[in-house]
Amino acid sequence: MKYLFEIVCVLLIIGIFVLTQVVGNQFYFFIGFVILQYMVLATAWNILGGYGGYVNFGSAGFLATGAYTSVALINFLDIGLVEQIIAGGAIAGLLGFVTGYLTLRLRGVYFAIATLALAIILETVVAHWDYVGGAAGTSILPKRKPELFDIMVVDRKTGIFANYKEFLFFLMGTVAIISVWIARYIENSKLGRGLNAIKDSEEAAECMGVPTLRLKLIATTISGAMMGVAGAPLASYLTFIDPLSAFNLEYAVNAIAMPMIGGTVSWMGPVIGALLLGTAQQVSSLWIQSELNLLIVGVLLVIFVIIAPEGIVGWFRKSRKGSRG
């Protein structure tokens, strides 16, 4: 069936909505949000890093751009969550485009360093920008009784969602599913094949008619926008935001580690990686020790680099091929 994947996506979104209505324990939405946010971030990273071979080390910078776009706009216009997500995506996408234009002539490790530097510069700027809280951070009180197209969204009695945790979980779930759909679409498109050619040999790709610069700019823009979308609701989720939490190194590390562990060749890789690693991190930091989660990432990365360098997806594909003959 041609639209099977799309139908599954819609069913999943409905499923997430039903969960928010049925499950009473808010704690699940609290950790579920983080895992879904990582799914968006990892999927976004993989579009440039997995398909195009350009390693972005500054994912936290793009995520924080989304988060701080929200903060600035909440202070300035008091806009709602959905608008924040759109604005955060737009600004981070623009940042992706500009970064791409300035740095894509750099290859390999130099590109990675440039993106890392970008995140550090942005963090410094934000830390000195008092309007959004500066280095000390700022509290964000979610809008009371938000409405969207005259429909009450969050209210204990009359709203669609009883509280913000449910609404945020639903939003991030929807964003995650749309992100995965976009990644899968790109993977099977001319853009995806062109990016793969760039990853394998940029000069050969260019000489075979692939407009390398244009494709890379499209990829940095889409990837940046998706990261911004992942970050936009962060302030509302935490109800407090400071540069340390928004530019956290964990975002940059996980954005790379999750696709690597899941497998970078397919849209499934970041999804599997985020579910696996994200869940392991949440469980360990909540029930065992909060410092443990980076250790888990490190150990898993080492194991996977040795046993399955192409990630879980690559490992399955290989073993399937092997059994065929």
């Binding site: 094949r193 793969n196 050969a204 390398t212």
Partner: protein
């Protein structure tokens, strides 16, 4: 006589203080088999990089098919009909053999608004190369000669008017060299103009209708294979000067 397909007019390329190409002027006629020779470091690959667009020449013009392509990016030139192979094979190594051919087929073919069956055409190219049975293989399983053939096949998939073969035979055995020459002859019979860069003299002499020789970035000789063989300048460039005069 018809207009040349490719004209190189006064092209110079400098790397810092080093002059890799110095005011080179030549042309290639439609349908011609054109040889480009010269000792190591004489500027052959630089010239080809300037023609394919990987390098920009600071001076001079490159006119292809009546259009000035000097300021065009490589992918635009490929779209216009210039395709090349690489001296050191650069396959798209995460793809299968046929997928390698689908890249130029899709990106160049689409550019021209053609909607033919890319896959069937790619298979046909592989058949003429004797590589049809390798179509689904990963490129990491290929041998040296197969990689060289893949370079040529992939360039062919871009449906070029001009094919530049950059040392497609270096390191191959005598029999393999003959095989590659046969493939190039076949392409030429289909009307594709071919520039062959080669160190293997036997191959260039047998294949080319006209040859130019570069030495230290200068064009030092131009003519038929017979004329080139007798040329004193070419002899000096390859063997050094003799002091019997």
């Amino acid at each position: 006589m018809s207009d040349p397909l490719l004209r190189i007019e006064g092209v110079s390329k400098h790397f810092g203080g080093f002059t890799a190409l110095n005011n080179v002027t030549t042309h290639v006629n439609p349908g011609e088999r054109f040889g480009l020779i010269g000792p190591n470091g004489s500027g052959k690959t630089t010239m080809i990089n300037c023609v394919s667009g990987l390098l920009r020449n600071e001076e001079g013009k490159i006119i292809f098919d009546g259009k000035d392509v000097t300021d065009l990016k490589p992918h635009k030139r490929t779209g216009a009909g210039i395709a090349r192979s690489f001296q050191i094979p650069r396959p798209f190594h995460t793809m299968s053999v046929i997928e390698n051919l689908m890249i130029p087929a899709e990106f160049v073919g689409h550019h021209r608004g053609e909607k033919t069956d890319d896959r069937a055409e790619a298979m046909e190219i592989l058949e003429t190369m004797g590589m049809a049975d390798k179509a689904e293989d990963p490129t990491t399983d290929l041998t040296q000669i197969e990689l060289r053939k893949l370079e040529l096949a992939r360039a062919m998939a871009a449906k070029p008017k001009l094919l530049i073969s950059d040392e497609a035979m270096a390191g191959l055995t005598g029999q393999e060299v003959d095989e590659v020459i046969d493939i190039l002859f076949k392409m030429n019979e289909r009307g594709i103009t071919i520039i062959m860069i080669e160190h293997i003299m036997r191959a260039v002499m047998r294949f080319s209708q006209r040859i130019i020789c570069l030495d230290a970035g200068q064009l030092i000789a131009e003519g038929t294979p017979e004329e080139i063989v007798k040329d004193k300048g070419v002899e000096r460039a390859y063997l050094g000067s003799t002091d019997d005069g």
